[in-house]
C-alpha cells in the first residue's frame, strides 16, 4: 500500500502566528497556493491559514451568487475599515487551530478519505510534530493513476 512518503511534496513553505496577514496574501499569490501551514519557533505545525480565511475575514457575510447586486448593499466605508484592520492583523487572528495532519507512514487510503470527507486540498505532513512537507490532491491523484490502485 502506498504511503504518504511516496507522494509527499518536500516543501516547508509556512508562516508563523505573528506573520502579518498581508504577507500571507502576498505569499499565497506568488506561490499560487490556496493555503499554508502555520508553525511555531520549533517548526511544529500549530495551524493552517488559507485564502478563504483571509477573504471571509473581510466579507464574513455570505454573498449569494444568485444575487450579485448584494455586493452593493455592503457599506463601502465599513469594508474599507475592515480591510485596514485585516491588513494589520496577524495570522493568529484568523488561522484554523484544529488542523489535521498526517505523518510519512500514513496510508494513501487514509489521505484520500480525509481529503474527500473534509474537502481538504492540501494536508501538512509532520514528523514528531515538525513540518516535513505537504500532500496535495494533484500529487495524490498522480500516484493513484500511476499505480492504478492504492493497494
Amino acid at each position: 500500500m502506498k504511503k504518504v512518503k511516496d507522494f509527499i511534496t518536500r516543501d516547508l513553505t509556512s508562516v508563523t502566528e505573528d506573520t502579518p496577514l498581508k504577507e500571507v496574501a502576498e505569499l499565497l499569490s506568488i506561490r499560487e497556493l490556496i493555503g499554508i501551514p502555520v508553525v511555531n519557533k520549533k517548526n511544529e505545525v500549530t495551524g493552517w491559514i488559507s485564502e478563504t480565511d483571509i477573504i471571509t475575514s473581510i466579507f464574513p457575510e455570505k454573498v449569494k451568487i444568485e444575487n450579485p447586486d448584494v455586493i452593493h448593499l455592503i457599506n463601502i466605508s465599513q469594508v474599507v475599515k475592515k480591510l485596514t484592520r485585516v491588513g494589520q492583523a496577524m495570522v493568529r487572528d484568523y488561522m484554523i487551530k484544529d488542523v489535521y495532519f498526517v505523518d510519512e507512514d500514513t496510508p494513501a487510503s487514509y489521505v484520500v478519505e480525509l481529503m474527500l470527507h473534509k474537502d481538504f486540498k492540501r494536508v501538512p505532513v509532520v514528523r514528531n510534530k515538525r513540518l516535513v512537507g505537504i500532500v496535495d490532491r494533484s500529487s495524490l491523484s498522480r500516484i493513484l493513476l500511476e499505480e492504478g490502485s492504492i493497494d
Binding site: T9, R10, D11, L12, T13, T16, E23, L27, I30, R31, E32, V39, K41, K42, N43, R130, V132, G133
Partner: protein
C-alpha cells in the same frame, strides 16, 4: 537533517557547442537548465547520496516553481524565502572541440531588510531539526557583511555543525568569534588565499593553520582541478583523482567533493576516508551532465582511483 544555505541561487543554463565563432551566429547543439549555486549543488549531491537535506535561501519570480520542483524531484526538501525579484540565470558555455568551458554570471538581486528578517526566522526554525548547516556561495546585494556571522552564531548556539564554502573576503568577515566544523574556501577564481599560493605545499599548511586558529575543526583547500589538502589539528592529508577526457563538466564538481566529504565524515570520523570518497563523488559529478553525482554506487567505484598521502 542537513540544511544548505544558498543566498544567491541561480539557474545554471548550459549551452553545448562544438565550436564558438565570436561575433557570429552560434547555434547550440544541446542545452540544459537546472538549479544552481554552491549550496544548491551540495544539497543535490547529498540527496543523491541518500541524506535528508533541506535547501534554503532566497528565490523569486516565475522561475521559482520550476527551480523548487527540480530540487524536490531529486529528493531535496525546499524551504526558501520569496523575494519580489526574478531568479538569476548563469550561462555555462561548453565548447567540445576546444575542450573549453566558460561561465557568465548574471548580476545578483538586492535583498530588502524585510526578506532578510523572514529568512533569519526561517533559518532558526530549521536549526531545531538540523545536525549540520552548510553555507555556500556569494552574497546578493543588501546583505550586511556580518549576516553570515549571525547565522553561524545561531547554529553554534544550537550546537549545530557549520560548514563554510565561501569566498575569502566573506570568510574573513564571518569567522570572528564563531566556530565552524569544516571550512572549504571557494577557490574558483584564484589559487591564493590569505596571501598564500596554494600551489606551494608549505603555503597550504600556513593557510590551513590560519583557518584552524580561527576556530575551524577541519580545513579543505583545493590546489588543482581535483587536488585537495585536508587538515585537522593533528592530521593532514592530500589527495587527487585524475580527471581526463572531453566529456567532463566541471559545474558542481567541487561542491560534489564537499558533499561527499561531509556524507562520509559524518559516518566514519576519518578525514582520509572522507577525502577519498569526496574525490569519488567529485569525479562522478564531473562525468554527469548535471551539477550533482551520477550515483552513490558510481562514486564508490570511482573513489578507489584516488591517490592519497597522509602528510602528518
Amino acid at each position: 537533517m542537513i540544511v544548505t544555505v544558498t543566498l544567491n541561487p541561480a539557474f545554471d543554463h548550459l549551452l553545448f557547442f562544438s565550436k564558438i565563432f565570436m561575433g557570429k551566429l552560434n547555434r547550440a547543439v544541446s542545452t540544459l537548465r537546472m538549479p544552481g549555486g554552491k549550496g544548491i549543488n551540495v544539497a543535490g549531491s547529498l540527496a543523491v547520496l541518500g541524506d535528508e537535506v533541506v535547501a534554503t535561501g532566497f528565490l523569486g519570480g516565475q522561475g521559482s516553481r520550476a527551480f523548487e520542483g527540480f530540487l524536490r524531484k531529486i529528493g531535496v526538501t525546499t524551504s526558501f524565502t520569496y523575494i519580489d525579484q526574478e531568479i538569476r540565470t548563469d550561462f555555462y558555455i561548453i565548447e567540445d572541440k576546444k575542450n573549453r568551458q566558460s561561465l557568465f554570471i548574471e548580476k545578483s538581486s538586492h535583498i530588502e531588510l524585510r526578506y532578510l528578517n523572514s529568512f533569519k526566522a526561517n533559518f532558526k526554525r530549521l536549526l531545531h531539526s538540523a545536525k549540520l548547516v552548510e553555507i555556500g556561495g556569494s552574497l546578493p546585494k543588501g546583505i550586511p557583511p556580518n549576516f553570515i556571522n549571525e547565522l553561524i552564531l545561531s547554529a553554534n548556539k544550537k550546537k549545530v555543525k557549520v560548514v563554510l564554502n565561501l569566498q575569502e573576503s566573506i570568510l574573513k568577515e564571518c569567522l570572528a568569534g564563531s566556530s565552524s566544523f569544516i571550512v572549504c574556501p571557494d577557490l574558483r577564481e584564484s589559487c591564493y588565499i590569505f596571501g598564500e599560493d596554494l600551489c606551494n605545499a608549505a603555503s597550504r599548511h600556513k593557510a590551513a593553520q590560519w583557518l584552524l586558529n580561527k576556530g575551524a575543526e577541519i580545513v579543505i583547500l583545493k590546489y588543482g582541478d581535483l587536488c585537495y589538502f585536508v587538515a585537522k589539528k593533528d592530521e593532514v592529508w592530500e589527495g587527487e583523482i585524475g580527471i581526463e577526457g572531453s566529456n567532463v563538466i566541471m559545474l558542481g564538481v567541487r561542491d560534489g567533493m564537499l558533499a561527499g566529504f561531509i556524507h562520509n565524515y559524518l559516518k566514519t570520523n576519518d578525514i582520509g576516508e572522507a577525502l577519498k570518497f569526496g574525490l569519488g563523488v567529485a569525479l562522478s559529478t564531473a562525468q554527469n551532465k548535471m551539477s550533482y553525482l551520477h550515483s552513490k554506487k558510481q562514486a564508490e567505484e570511482l573513489c578507489v582511483m584516488a591517490k592519497l598521502r597522509k602528510i602528518a
